[in-house]
């Protein structure tokens, strides 16, 4: 107990305050967003319920019903189903409705909450996040549906707090000063989309926390040198990412890269090198076997359509590169029009990621906010580029961190673009790319902002940090307000 108390005393006060801020925002988001109204939240909750109640994963292709009977009652009877994406609808809030639902739950047969055996569209996801949430489902006092949902959302909030901590630590690996750490972790705590996703039940926030931990540990390993313990942890985090979601596969190339960078930085002995590589490979192999064992019989192929690699014969390198170009830049005359709906950098990066789109994509910030965010993002990018050029000598000394973080960006964006292109070229109308898929990169966004400000004259740095974090505080408040208005006003 004394050791825990001593450890808590060592937590920097700035970090403790940022964690309190993130906790307040996450809880606010979880209350502002009506039950079951996050993206695919109905299916994620059904997955957790079935796993918690039966110990097995629902099927993505077969089954008798998607939802447990309590969730189905909430969706159809109480109206949470017709609330989805219909801005004119409101959830029930009358005491009569509450009492009616309690009576409905009381007469459900045993095993009713776990009756949702499929077909569940998210059942192709591996089970790690759902197993985590199943703890909350099982331990919720009273065992009522809405109580369980409340607790599960709180557990998602804990993952945001973990992401804030790992971002703080990551920034601490790159700078010895507190202010960059505060900026980096503050960006994560205040990003409206991160807060929103931490207030619902969705795997993306789990993936985000895992990536944040991986990135910190990879940069730390590069600084301190290879050891079999750090290699094992990095491999374990890689497995955790892969066991959380199909998009978690994008972390796989980062594992060998992180180990190679760490090796190149310190050049450890041959024995240490072999031991580290062997342990990492062993852990990764055990993780792969665990995935195969756990998901056997769940139905559907590897990750189903989420990692849509489809028919390989339809792949065209030229068309793929053109689709990436047109995602970020205007189409050149020599290019064919891109596949799928007209979405690009503005929609995905600015609106859906840095700004945020809430509910099930029907709740928006005012458009002036997205314009402001776009201008701020461009200014930050220009500033970051300038700092990288002007302070090249200092940047070069930190090359391992730069390589790892840049590779993470390339791996995730490359993976998303590839999956999106393959989905579209194989006839899907869904481009499979949206802002929340970028959340694993928020520690890098925060660290990037901190690095950009750190390159400013010392007197300017806190002012720039204040403007950014003050503005983001308001954006978070605005996001919560428009969400409250959509559901409860």
């Amino acid at each position: 107990m004394n050791r825990i108390r001593a450890a808590l005393h060592r937590v920097p006060l700035s970090l403790a305050v940022l964690l309190a801020v993130a906790a307040v925002l996450s809880l606010s988001w979880s209350l502002a967003t009506a039950p079951l109204q996050g993206p695919d939240e109905t299916e994620h909750v059904a997955y957790v319920a079935h796993l918690a109640e039966t110990g097995s994963i629902p099927s993505s292709t077969t089954g008798n019903q998607i939802y447990g009977l309590d969730e189905a009652g909430a969706l159809d009877g109480l109206g949470y189903g017709r609330l989805l994406q219909n801005r004119t609808a409101r959830p029930p809030w009358s005491p009569v409705d509450e009492q009616n639902f309690r009576n409905f739950e009381a007469q459900l047969p045993a095993g009713a909450p776990g009756a949702g055996d499929g077909p569940n569209s998210v059942a192709k996801n591996p089970p790690l996040y759902y197993a985590y949430q199943a703890i909350g489902w099982t331990l919720t006092p009273g065992g009522r549906f809405f109580g369980r949902l409340f607790v599960m959302r709180l557990l998602s909030g804990l993952l945001l707090l973990a992401t804030v901590v790992f971002t703080w630590l990551l920034a601490g690996e790159i700078s010895r000063r507190r202010l960059p750490q505060t900026v980096a972790a503050g960006v994560v705590a205040l990003l409206p989309m991160a807060g929103f996703m931490s207030g619902i039940v969705n795997t993306d926030i789990g993936l985000t926390a895992i990536w944040a931990c991986f990135l910190w540990l990879a940069v730390r390993t590069a600084r301190l040198g290879l050891s079999w313990q750090r290699s094992a942890l990095l491999a374990l985090l890689t497995v955790a990412s892969v066991l959380t979601h199909g998009r978690g596969l994008a972390i796989v190339p980062l594992l060998p890269l992180a180990l190679v960078v760490a090796w190149a930085r310190r050049r450890p002995s041959g024995r240490t090198t072999l031991l580290s590589a062997g342990v990492a490979a062993g852990v990764a192999l055990v993780g792969l076997l665990a995935y195969k064992v756990v998901t056997a019989g769940a139905g559907g192929g590897l990750y189903g359509g989420e990692v849509n690699l489809g028919n390989s014969s339809a792949f065209s390198v030229r068309q793929f590169l053109s689709s990436i170009w047109q995602f970020y830049l205007p189409r050149l005359d020599s290019m064919q029009p891109h596949l799928g709906p007209a979405i690009g950098y503005r929609q995905v990066f600015i609106q859906q990621f840095l700004g945020g789109v809430f509910g099930s994509y029907e709740v928006y910030l005012p458009y002036w906010a997205y314009d402001l965010i776009q201008v701020a993002a461009m200014l930050l990018l220009v500033l970051l580029y300038t700092v990288l050029v002007v302070r090249f000598a200092a940047v070069r000394r930190r090359w391992p961190a730069l390589v790892i973080l840049a590779a993470a960006v390339v791996c995730l964006l490359g993976f998303l673009h590839l999956a999106s292109y393959r989905a579209l070229v194989n006839g899907s109308g869904d481009p499979l790319i949206t802002g929340r898929y970028l959340l694993p990169l928020i520690p890098i966004v925060g660290t990037g902002a901190a690095a950009a400000f750190a390159g400013l004259p010392r007197r300017m740095e806190p002012i720039a940090a204040g403007v950014l974090l003050g503005g983001m505080s308001f954006l978070s408040l605005a996001g919560i307000a428009v969400t409250l208005e959509r559901f409860y006003a």
Partner: protein, 227 residues
Amino acid sequence: MRRAAIAGVVSALGVFLLLFLFKGLPYLQDGREAIDATPTVLPSADLAPVTVRPGQQACVSGITYGPQSRYVLVEVRSGGHPSPPIVVRASAPGYAATALHPGGIADNGLLIVPIRPASHAVGGGTLCLRNAGRVAIDFFGVPPGRSSSPSVTTVAGKPVTADLGVTLLASPNASIGSRLGDVFDHVAAFRPVTGWEVWILALLVVLGVPGGIAFALWRSTGAAPRE
């Protein structure tokens, strides 16, 4: 360093305050419909008109009336001419209210009729709209599917497949700022929190978040680099 820390705090609080004053306050003061309940929904995409001929009435069952249910809102299609007069009758065990709308609503317009609210929440109610004019009228409804509700819509006593879209309003024009108490009470429903606890959380968001950020900037700007 102390001056730099002050500059950071002032810039964080200043930006937050400026945005709150110029964007947040007007948002809180803007008037809009204050929704009390949506027993059935208005269509967001597919429209299924519910046609009511002169003298007929359309009824929707399964409605809960509460003390804030002060107006009935439906959307009408009158086929190019002004809508006929409509008699609205709200009823539930121990509660009844009747109101008349004189008609004259343009095509695709909103019919908003004040009704006497119930003294307390009462479920199992019915809402009927009687066409008291000489031309038929279409009310907006939703087809069977994800948007439909357990309520049953009848026209002239016979069930129809579409749900007539009914919204109960607390007010046709009220600012969010003036209704925060109601909003927070709504948030607390179906959750293990009370409206007062939501109030406390809201204060923490408005005051604690920018204050916390300013404090974190203050502490970290003045802190010595780690070894």
